[in-house]
Protein backbone atom coordinates (compact mmCIF):
# COMPACT_ATOMS: atom_id res chain seq x y z
CA UNK A 1 0.00 0.00 0.00
CA UNK A 2 1.47 3.14 -1.12
CA UNK A 3 1.64 6.34 0.81
CA UNK A 4 -0.73 7.96 -1.66
CA UNK A 5 -3.35 5.55 -0.71
CA UNK A 6 -3.01 6.34 2.95
CA UNK A 7 -3.19 10.05 2.40
CA UNK A 8 -6.24 9.83 0.20
CA UNK A 9 -8.04 7.39 2.51
CA UNK A 10 -7.16 9.54 5.51
CA UNK A 11 -8.65 12.53 3.75
CA UNK A 12 -11.86 10.71 2.93
CA UNK A 13 -12.27 9.32 6.39
CA UNK A 14 -11.55 12.66 7.98
CA UNK A 15 -14.03 14.36 5.78
CA UNK A 16 -16.64 11.73 6.51
CA UNK A 17 -16.09 11.99 10.23
CA UNK A 18 -16.35 15.72 10.08
CA UNK A 19 -19.50 15.49 8.03
CA UNK A 20 -21.09 13.34 10.67
CA UNK A 21 -19.79 14.91 13.82
CA UNK A 22 -19.88 18.65 13.30
CA UNK A 23 -22.56 20.74 14.88
CA UNK A 24 -23.07 23.28 12.20
CA UNK A 25 -24.91 21.75 9.32
CA UNK A 26 -23.21 23.84 6.66
CA UNK A 27 -19.88 22.72 8.00
CA UNK A 28 -21.14 19.19 7.66
CA UNK A 29 -22.09 19.77 4.04
CA UNK A 30 -18.68 21.22 3.26
CA UNK A 31 -16.94 18.34 4.99
CA UNK A 32 -19.02 16.05 2.90
CA UNK A 33 -17.63 17.70 -0.17
CA UNK A 34 -14.14 16.89 1.03
CA UNK A 35 -15.18 13.28 1.58
CA UNK A 36 -16.54 13.14 -1.93
CA UNK A 37 -13.32 14.53 -3.28
CA UNK A 38 -11.33 11.96 -1.42
CA UNK A 39 -13.44 9.19 -2.88
CA UNK A 40 -12.99 10.65 -6.34
CA UNK A 41 -9.23 10.62 -5.85
CA UNK A 42 -9.44 7.00 -4.84
CA UNK A 43 -11.30 6.29 -8.01
CA UNK A 44 -8.52 7.88 -9.95
CA UNK A 45 -6.01 5.86 -8.03
CA UNK A 46 -7.91 2.75 -9.06
CA UNK A 47 -7.58 3.66 -12.74
CA UNK A 48 -11.31 4.42 -12.97
CA UNK A 49 -10.85 7.82 -14.47
CA UNK A 50 -14.31 8.20 -15.86
CA UNK A 51 -15.89 7.19 -12.58
CA UNK A 52 -13.68 9.59 -10.71
CA UNK A 53 -14.55 12.56 -12.87
CA UNK A 54 -18.19 11.55 -12.87
CA UNK A 55 -17.97 11.49 -9.10
CA UNK A 56 -16.56 14.98 -8.99
CA UNK A 57 -19.10 16.29 -11.43
CA UNK A 58 -22.16 14.74 -9.98
CA UNK A 59 -21.49 14.37 -6.34
CA UNK A 60 -19.52 17.51 -5.65
CA UNK A 61 -21.03 19.51 -8.42
CA UNK A 62 -24.66 18.54 -7.88
CA UNK A 63 -25.37 16.60 -4.75
CA UNK A 64 -23.30 18.63 -2.41
CA UNK A 65 -24.69 21.86 -3.83
CA UNK A 66 -28.14 20.43 -3.44
CA UNK A 67 -27.45 19.59 0.17
CA UNK A 68 -26.24 23.13 0.81
CA UNK A 69 -29.33 24.52 -0.84
CA UNK A 70 -31.52 22.32 1.29
CA UNK A 71 -29.73 23.36 4.44
CA UNK A 72 -30.04 26.98 3.57
CA UNK A 73 -33.70 26.63 2.70
CA UNK A 74 -34.43 24.96 6.03
CA UNK A 75 -32.44 27.35 8.09
CA UNK A 76 -35.28 28.43 10.34
CA UNK A 77 -34.84 25.78 12.93
CA UNK A 78 -31.15 25.33 12.67
CA UNK A 79 -30.31 26.40 16.20
CA UNK A 80 -29.86 23.15 18.07
CA UNK A 81 -31.99 23.14 21.19
CA UNK A 82 -30.66 20.30 23.19
CA UNK A 83 -28.25 18.29 21.18
CA UNK A 84 -27.56 17.43 17.63
CA UNK A 85 -27.79 13.80 18.36
CA UNK A 86 -31.05 11.94 18.62
CA UNK A 87 -32.10 9.96 21.64
CA UNK A 88 -29.78 7.18 22.63
CA UNK A 89 -27.08 7.69 20.00
CA UNK A 90 -25.20 4.74 21.52
CA UNK A 91 -27.40 2.27 19.75
CA UNK A 92 -26.58 3.77 16.40
CA UNK A 93 -22.90 3.87 17.18
CA UNK A 94 -22.89 0.35 18.35
CA UNK A 95 -24.74 -0.77 15.27
CA UNK A 96 -22.37 1.03 12.96
CA UNK A 97 -19.43 -0.33 14.84
CA UNK A 98 -20.88 -3.75 14.59
CA UNK A 99 -21.24 -3.44 10.85
CA UNK A 100 -17.75 -2.20 10.48
CA UNK A 101 -16.46 -5.00 12.63
CA UNK A 102 -18.27 -7.59 10.65
CA UNK A 103 -17.23 -6.22 7.31
CA UNK A 104 -13.70 -5.84 8.44
CA UNK A 105 -13.55 -9.27 9.81
CA UNK A 106 -14.95 -10.70 6.61
CA UNK A 107 -12.47 -8.86 4.50
CA UNK A 108 -9.51 -9.75 6.63
CA UNK A 109 -10.46 -13.36 6.89
CA UNK A 110 -10.77 -13.77 3.18
CA UNK A 111 -7.60 -11.96 2.38
CA UNK A 112 -5.86 -14.89 0.83
CA UNK A 113 -8.75 -15.56 -1.54
CA UNK A 114 -8.92 -12.05 -2.88
CA UNK A 115 -7.36 -11.43 -6.22
CA UNK A 116 -4.17 -9.51 -6.12
CA UNK A 117 -3.06 -11.28 -3.04
CA UNK A 118 -0.10 -12.73 -4.82
CA UNK A 119 1.82 -9.57 -4.18
CA UNK A 120 2.30 -8.66 -7.73
CA UNK A 121 -0.03 -5.86 -8.72
CA UNK A 122 -2.36 -6.68 -11.49
CA UNK A 123 -2.00 -4.99 -14.80
CA UNK A 124 -3.76 -1.77 -15.55
CA UNK A 125 -6.92 -2.52 -17.48
CA UNK A 126 -6.88 -0.97 -20.96
CA UNK A 127 -10.12 0.98 -20.60
CA UNK A 128 -10.87 4.02 -22.64
CA UNK A 129 -13.80 6.35 -22.54
CA UNK A 130 -14.75 5.14 -25.95
CA UNK A 131 -15.12 1.66 -24.51
CA UNK A 132 -17.36 3.03 -21.83
CA UNK A 133 -19.42 4.86 -24.41
CA UNK A 134 -19.75 1.74 -26.53
CA UNK A 135 -20.72 -0.26 -23.52
CA UNK A 136 -23.34 2.25 -22.51
CA UNK A 137 -24.90 2.26 -25.91
CA UNK A 138 -24.44 -1.39 -26.54
CA UNK A 139 -24.58 -3.76 -23.72
CA UNK A 140 -25.99 -1.43 -21.09
CA UNK A 141 -28.49 0.47 -23.18
CA UNK A 142 -31.47 -0.81 -21.21
CA UNK A 143 -30.15 0.29 -17.82
CA UNK A 144 -29.25 3.56 -19.45
CA UNK A 145 -32.74 4.15 -20.63
CA UNK A 146 -34.20 3.13 -17.32
CA UNK A 147 -31.91 5.45 -15.47
CA UNK A 148 -32.96 8.16 -17.83
CA UNK A 149 -36.55 7.44 -16.99
CA UNK A 150 -35.68 7.43 -13.35
CA UNK A 151 -33.99 10.76 -13.59
CA UNK A 152 -36.99 12.20 -15.34
CA UNK A 153 -39.27 10.87 -12.71
CA UNK A 154 -37.02 12.16 -9.97
CA UNK A 155 -36.92 15.54 -11.59
CA UNK A 156 -40.66 15.78 -11.87
CA UNK A 157 -41.15 14.35 -8.42
CA UNK A 158 -38.73 16.67 -6.77
CA UNK A 159 -40.37 19.64 -8.43
CA UNK A 160 -43.81 18.57 -7.34
CA UNK A 161 -42.78 17.72 -3.83
CA UNK A 162 -40.98 20.92 -3.25
CA UNK A 163 -43.48 23.12 -4.97
CA UNK A 164 -45.21 25.80 -3.02
CA UNK A 165 -48.69 24.73 -2.18
CA UNK A 166 -50.39 27.88 -3.13
CA UNK A 167 -53.92 26.51 -3.28
CA UNK A 168 -54.09 25.21 0.25
CA UNK A 169 -52.67 28.45 1.66
CA UNK A 170 -55.82 30.22 0.55
Amino acid sequence: MSIVFYIISGLSVAGALAAVLLKNTVHCALALTIAFAGVALMFLELDAQFAGFAQILIYIGAVAILVVFAILLTRGSETPKDTVYSRKPVVGLVTAAGIFAMLGWAVLRSQQFLPGSGGTPTATPPVTVMDIGNALMGRYVLPLEIVALLLTAALIGAVIVAMHEKESAK
Binding site: L32, A35, A48, V67, T74, V107, A135
Partner: protein, 103 residues
Protein backbone atom coordinates in the same frame (compact mmCIF):
# COMPACT_ATOMS: atom_id res chain seq x y z
CA UNK B 1 -1.21 -6.51 2.50
CA UNK B 2 -3.42 -6.95 -0.43
CA UNK B 3 -4.18 -3.58 -1.99
CA UNK B 4 -7.74 -4.63 -2.50
CA UNK B 5 -8.09 -5.28 1.18
CA UNK B 6 -7.05 -1.73 1.97
CA UNK B 7 -9.68 -0.28 -0.31
CA UNK B 8 -12.30 -2.57 1.08
CA UNK B 9 -11.47 -1.58 4.58
CA UNK B 10 -11.64 2.07 3.74
CA UNK B 11 -14.99 1.50 2.08
CA UNK B 12 -16.21 -0.34 5.15
CA UNK B 13 -15.05 2.48 7.37
CA UNK B 14 -16.78 5.05 5.24
CA UNK B 15 -19.90 2.97 5.30
CA UNK B 16 -19.85 2.64 9.03
CA UNK B 17 -19.31 6.34 9.49
CA UNK B 18 -22.15 7.09 7.13
CA UNK B 19 -24.39 4.70 8.97
CA UNK B 20 -23.48 6.13 12.31
CA UNK B 21 -24.29 9.55 11.06
CA UNK B 22 -27.60 8.43 9.61
CA UNK B 23 -28.56 6.72 12.82
CA UNK B 24 -27.49 9.30 15.33
CA UNK B 25 -27.99 12.79 13.98
CA UNK B 26 -31.22 14.63 14.56
CA UNK B 27 -31.35 16.69 11.46
CA UNK B 28 -33.01 15.03 8.49
CA UNK B 29 -30.54 16.48 6.06
CA UNK B 30 -27.66 14.98 7.99
CA UNK B 31 -29.33 11.61 7.67
CA UNK B 32 -29.32 12.11 3.95
CA UNK B 33 -25.67 13.08 4.12
CA UNK B 34 -25.00 9.83 5.91
CA UNK B 35 -26.83 7.95 3.21
CA UNK B 36 -24.74 9.64 0.53
CA UNK B 37 -21.63 8.59 2.35
CA UNK B 38 -22.87 5.00 2.45
CA UNK B 39 -23.54 5.07 -1.24
CA UNK B 40 -20.09 6.39 -1.89
CA UNK B 41 -18.58 3.63 0.14
CA UNK B 42 -20.50 1.10 -1.90
CA UNK B 43 -19.30 2.69 -5.13
CA UNK B 44 -15.75 2.51 -3.88
CA UNK B 45 -16.22 -1.13 -3.18
CA UNK B 46 -17.50 -1.73 -6.63
CA UNK B 47 -14.68 0.09 -8.36
CA UNK B 48 -12.09 -1.64 -6.20
CA UNK B 49 -13.45 -5.02 -7.07
CA UNK B 50 -13.64 -4.04 -10.73
CA UNK B 51 -10.01 -3.01 -10.71
CA UNK B 52 -8.72 -6.13 -9.05
CA UNK B 53 -11.30 -8.49 -10.49
CA UNK B 54 -10.72 -11.09 -13.19
CA UNK B 55 -12.18 -9.27 -16.18
CA UNK B 56 -11.79 -5.52 -15.86
CA UNK B 57 -12.26 -5.10 -19.60
CA UNK B 58 -15.85 -6.20 -19.24
CA UNK B 59 -16.49 -2.91 -17.49
CA UNK B 60 -19.13 -4.43 -15.25
CA UNK B 61 -17.98 -2.80 -12.05
CA UNK B 62 -17.47 0.56 -13.67
CA UNK B 63 -20.92 0.54 -15.19
CA UNK B 64 -22.45 -0.44 -11.93
CA UNK B 65 -20.73 2.38 -10.17
CA UNK B 66 -21.76 4.91 -12.78
CA UNK B 67 -25.34 3.94 -12.63
CA UNK B 68 -25.17 4.01 -8.87
CA UNK B 69 -23.92 7.55 -8.98
CA UNK B 70 -26.76 8.55 -11.25
CA UNK B 71 -29.37 6.94 -9.09
CA UNK B 72 -27.84 8.45 -5.97
CA UNK B 73 -28.11 11.84 -7.48
CA UNK B 74 -31.74 11.36 -8.33
CA UNK B 75 -32.51 10.04 -4.91
CA UNK B 76 -30.73 12.92 -3.24
CA UNK B 77 -32.78 15.33 -5.23
CA UNK B 78 -36.06 13.77 -4.29
CA UNK B 79 -35.06 13.30 -0.68
CA UNK B 80 -34.00 16.85 -0.21
CA UNK B 81 -37.16 18.02 -1.90
CA UNK B 82 -39.08 16.00 0.65
CA UNK B 83 -37.16 17.51 3.53
CA UNK B 84 -37.92 20.99 2.23
CA UNK B 85 -41.56 20.11 1.92
CA UNK B 86 -41.69 18.75 5.46
CA UNK B 87 -39.88 21.79 6.75
CA UNK B 88 -42.48 23.97 5.09
CA UNK B 89 -45.19 22.02 6.83
CA UNK B 90 -43.77 21.37 10.27
CA UNK B 91 -41.25 24.22 10.41
CA UNK B 92 -38.59 21.84 11.62
CA UNK B 93 -36.16 19.28 10.32
CA UNK B 94 -35.90 17.51 13.60
CA UNK B 95 -36.48 13.84 13.03
CA UNK B 96 -37.42 13.21 16.62
CA UNK B 97 -40.31 15.60 16.25
CA UNK B 98 -41.66 13.81 13.21
CA UNK B 99 -43.40 10.95 14.93
CA UNK B 100 -46.89 11.16 13.61
CA UNK B 101 -46.50 7.59 12.42
CA UNK B 102 -46.18 6.51 16.00
CA UNK B 103 -48.13 3.29 16.51
Amino acid sequence: MNPLTGYLLVAALLFAIGLAGALTRRNAILVLIGIELMLNAANLNLIAFWRYGPHPEALTGMMFAIFSIAVAAAEAAVGLGLVISIHRHAHTTDLDAMNRMKG
